[in-house]
Amino acid sequence: MFPRLVSYLLAVFLRSHRYFPPLLVFLLGLMLLYTARPNPVMGSYAASSVLLYFVSAWIGTGFCGAIGEAQEHIAAVHTGSVRKYLIGKTMAVFACGLLLSLAALIYPVAAGSFDERVRAGEWLTALLAHVELAVLGGLAALILSQPVIRKGSLSAAMLLLVLILSIARDGILKEIGGGFAPLFIPLPPVAPVVDRLINPDADLSMQNAAVWIWPLVYGGVLYVLYLRLAEKKM
């Protein structure tokens, strides 16, 4: 059932043409990023993962707008339960994120844009970072869109704020002081992942592992929260 539901939702999204603006920005962003050659591998992947974070959130918002409330109700009834429908919708958003993650990783290699050969370890690290950021961006968009938040302007403003604050966390903390760090805990843990891509040799201890595991745990918690809130608000 899930493959059929995901295929239907992707078809709705593609037919709505809402995929076009985020896809265009993503492709133009990638091309712009790799215009000058050669480029450092991990630094470039850090930039493309940030781009993907924003684009995935845009796609998540686009999905909610493309299908609309009444068609969501119809699809949920045909699926047999609201929860199954919401899981299918999340899978469709993740599928787009995964596809774009692969594009972001393959494009510079295929175009010969790097200053050195990409090692397997670097590629896997970059893949993990892209997938994690795509998932976090998509989930942030889903939890801040209808049915959880119905007012479009409020939803867009909150999403933009969350995206910007989560990326600029370290810079803001430098300005206002590290004591405010707990305020940023509810935000997606994006900045540490990007920081680790830019400084891959900084730390190889347990803290390093936590940088990669925490987004997965955070994503899992956000996912459960999304399902509960969306089910309640439908």
Binding site: R4, A11, V12, R15, H73, V77, H78, G80, K232, M234
Partner: protein, 228 residues
């Protein structure tokens, strides 16, 4: 009579607003037509969503028969950029209807509703869009058919065809729950009528067997609308 869906002391409210539906006790029985009447904003649509399983109650409980299938047609059907057959095929595949059966069923519905337009649903008139809405609801021959003001935009012939379809559904053992503002149409298929006012069910009208039996005669339905 077998209860397919039971609402026990059900309430529903959004955020901090007043309850949209409150203290509702209602059962939907197999083979029975249940009409829900009420003024605009009285809570009809929310009650239908509770019955269809789209929305969860804020209070009380909704019990469903195991393996129950539901068909639902919302009041407003936003057009999608699919051809009608494509759209129905997608939903049928989600329902896991085998391909040959799905193709046959879609053709049957296209003929019944006389919908043979080639373009996407976004190019359809209001009436044609509403036909697609009703077709998707009955596509899988559900046990319970939940319809929110389904006659909106339908011409007289299509209304009569649809009334015949509803009667056939009931004869096959399905339950029908519907809101609407057409007492004539309601007489054709409803066995019970409840009235909702400010979210509460206030009146319950049980029709005699005569009305339901009358409704089973397609001639009666044709006469009701003056169509052949």
């Amino acid at each position: 009579m077998e209860a397919l869906i039971e609402l026990r002391n059900v309430g529903k409210w959004y955020a901090a607003g007043r309850p949209v539906v409150q203290q509702v006790d209602l059962a939907v029985y197999r083979g029975q037509g249940l009409a829900i009447r009420g003024r605009n904003g009285s809570g009809k649509t929310t009650l239908l969503k509770l019955i269809a399983g789209i929305t969860r109650p804020s209070a009380g409980a909704v019990r469903r028969a195991p393996e129950l299938t539901v068909g639902y047609a919302p009041e407003r059907f936003p057009p999608v950029r699919f051809r009608a057959e494509e759209y129905l095929a997608h939903l049928g595949r989600i329902r896991r209807i085998p391909k040959p059966e799905l193709e046959r069923r879609i053709q049957e519905l296209m003929d019944l509703f006389q919908l043979h337009a080639a373009g996407p649903i976004t190019h359809f008139s209001k009436g044609m869009t509403q036909k697609v809405n009703l077709m998707q609801a009955v596509l899988a021959r559900p046990d319970v058919l939940v319809l929110d003001e389904p006659l909106s935009g339908l011409d007289a012939d299509s209304q009569a065809d649809f009334a015949r379809l509803l009667v056939k559904f009931k004869q096959e053992g399905a339950a029908i729950v519907m809101t609407g503002h057409e007492p004539g149409f309601e007489n054709a298929w409803a066995d019970r009528t409840v009235v909702i006012r400010y979210g509460r069910l206030e009146e319950l009208q049980e029709r005699g067997a005569g009305a339901a039996a009358q409704a089973e005669t397609s001639d009666w339905i044709c006469n009701q609308w003056g169509v052949n």
